[in-house]
Symmetry: C3
Subunit: 316 residues, 3 copies
């Protein structure tokens, strides 16, 4: 999409020469052909170092845009980003892509659907009623149980096992809201990358990234009914027990354990070898490795036990 069309679509003034914008991205990750945006004053610091070709800003953040970068000034940059995100969304199914490639020894149910452009490795098993979206790539020896849905453009490693009714790559929960309380969808144009030797339970949901990737690293074990928000990163050998959840952009280090029904807020970083007891509510990043936490608000698990013992005495 060219910059003049973009400016016109979002009602920003632009009189410079026309050029092509290839994608949208964050201020940090945008390349010199990409468009970015500032929707929150805490990202103002990233404007000046951004390599983006153009940035959607409001009148207050306009001044920070560096020379050589186009400032597209609008009233509500986040809303206009949402409007534009739809224009950069690929087709859900693209019939112009090549026929899928199936590796030697793979058994694909004739009741599974492998979309155009997908590449399945060797000795995989894909059972009935599963769906592998366009351009999705799967490694060797991976087992996909029935009724699994993998959206387009995702990557799944070798030696993985994905249980029934699980969804990989559905849209992250992203939208802009205007002053009337109306919402505008932010198309999630990133993907999900699942590394080798990952097992995922049934009815678990792993959302695709808005930009970039949601990443599940090597050796991770995920139980049933787990929610992983867009742009999360789950470190090697981490364990997520049933009904736990990670809100968007949270990063777990390696060998983190999320107990049953535990959950994190978004945008946190959790040190390696941290353990969260069942139903922990994690609202802050954890920097020290190897400790065990519990409760909501979160505290060290041994403190939580002590506190609960004290409270129990209150009723005697």
């Amino acid at each position: 999409m060219d910059i003049q069309s973009i400016a016109s679509l979002i009602g920003a003034e632009y009189t410079g020469e026309n050029f092509e914008i290839t994608a949208m991205n964050t201020l940090k990750d945008a390349s010199a052909s990409e468009l970015s945006f500032v929707a929150n004053s805490k990202y103002v610091k990233d404007i000046q170092t951004s390599k983006a070709a153009a940035i959607i800003v409001d009148t207050k953040t306009q001044e920070f845009v560096p020379e050589g970068c186009v400032a597209l000034v609008v009233q509500n940059p986040y809303w206009e980003m949402a409007v534009l995100s739809k224009k950069f969304a690929p087709l859900i199914e693209d019939e112009s892509l090549p026929e899928p490639i199936i590796g030697e020894g793979s058994k694909i149910s004739n009741k599974a659907e492998i979309a155009k452009g997908a590449v399945i490795g060797k000795n995989c098993t894909i059972l009935a009623h599963s769906y592998i979206g366009c351009n999705t790539v799967i490694g060797d020896n991976t087992v996909i149980y029935p009724n699994v849905t993998v959206y387009r453009d995702c990557m799944i490693g070798s030696d993985c096992m994905i249980h029934a009714n699980t969804t990989i790559g559905s849209d992250g929960f992203g939208f802009a809201t205007n002053a009337m309380g109306e919402h505008k969808k932010i198309y999630q144009n990133g993907n999900v990358i699942i590394e080798d030797d990952v097992e995922i339970g049934s009815s678990t949901t792993i959302d695709r990234a808005v930009f970039g990737a949601t990443r599940i690293k090597k050796g991770v074990r995920i139980d049933n009914l787990v929610q992983i928000g867009h742009n999360c990163e789950v470190g090697e050998y981490s364990v997520l027990v049933a009904q736990s959840g990670l809100a968007g952009s949270t990063k777990l280090g390696r060998n983190v354990v999320m107990g049953g029904q535990s959950a994190t807020a978004g945008h946190l970083e959790i040190a390696p070898f941290t353990k969260f007891a069942a139903r922990s509510g994690v609202t802050k990043s954890i920097t020290q490795s190897g400790l065990t936490y519990g409760g909501f608000p979160l505290m060290e698990h041994k403190l939580w036990l002590k506190l609960q013992a004290k409270l129990a005495r209150l009723i005697k």
Copy 2:
């Protein structure tokens, strides 16, 4: 089903003339050809104003039935209502209905199932392994991702998006229990109505109403793994974050936010623009608009923060 057969089936005495009962319904909503019931003394007040043709009552509530309305007296009205609910349940799939109608420009996967009597609007996309039940009506431009199940008789608006493995219109969790602790299913003969511009995440479950409709209003955003019980109403532009849940018959006003893993009890009314922090447990109706709550038991979120700070000091 005629009144004499109904009386005979549930062991109630009826010697009047025979007439047809078209459906079962609540005391409030029953029309003059419908049957209702009193299963809970708190509904006694609704008996006298009910337009129902007949009401299932026990010996204690019998006296309140107005003249001209048939009283069917049984020992356990709720159990007998359950027995009858099966008789009024439509076929799961009715082959006598007309072929489904697919609007212009809609792309339906040949691995999707569109049942008889369904009507799909224009420019919809329905992906593989989805199921659209009998008589279900879908508007224009709506996208149904793979492995979605929509039960019969539901309505989905235009410009909606339903992500993979989500279920719309499964039976509400309803049953009668007798003195032996045995359960009898109450067939859920209502439906789900989803208005325009609603996005629903993956592996979310929205139950059909026992009578009438479960309703998701315009512009609502629902995340993954959310549970919405039978007969709920979700107001315009409300936002339900992952793993939250609404118990049956709860009504959210417009722009209510349910944080992650929050939940409500049943039969509540929540004022517009109320926000529930993550993991709130809502057990009472909220009448004042625009406040933010947290905790379980629920309190204003700022009080909850204060209380938790106090508790943390207890262990020092």
Copy 3:
């Protein structure tokens, strides 16, 4: 698999005569042709009474193995059991099994998949995109809604109803972890048995047992998005409300009620007629019948209400 191959695979010394091992099992349940293991010192007491043909032990537990039983000594018995579990896992789909048998009057969608060796009773309804695995047996009059997955070797009774997108028999969450923090899958070679007259909601997950069976007894009612771990037993007429969860090996007596979002730890026994309020966190067994509990940590519900009232006063 013969004992010499087993010893060689896990690096244990074995010089005795060769014989066939038919399966792996717990110390308690192993028959005279089966192999067991001691992975936890609390099971040492079960070694001497085990009928197992051979037991995988470490140097510390080796001495308890009774005469006539082969001791296979390794460094990490749990890890080696995991290695072996794969060898005893049946094929996911076994094409050598006989064609499935469908009872009179049953309606099976041509978009459902019934795997080899399955047996479906009379007057069942199995809707599109459901999957019934190899050797799974279903009784009479059972309804399976769309997109349900039942893994191989399970048993479902008569008069059951399983709602859309639910998974029965996926692998329990089992793995061994070594000193490097790496995980090795324990193949779950047991099954799920669902007795008669059970209704299960949508997107619920019931894991198969590692050995033996996960069992849902007669008349149970399970709501949507419920998690039931491997080797659990749910007593007759128990009720599990939406988003509740049972960790592995927990046994509920009859007519237990799990409120919405409540959960238990693993290996508990819950007395009949116990009620857990919404969001109860159950970490200990309950021996007295008929009481109502709430909170996390758990206490009698009336105490929890009292405690919360006291806490609320703290902030005044």
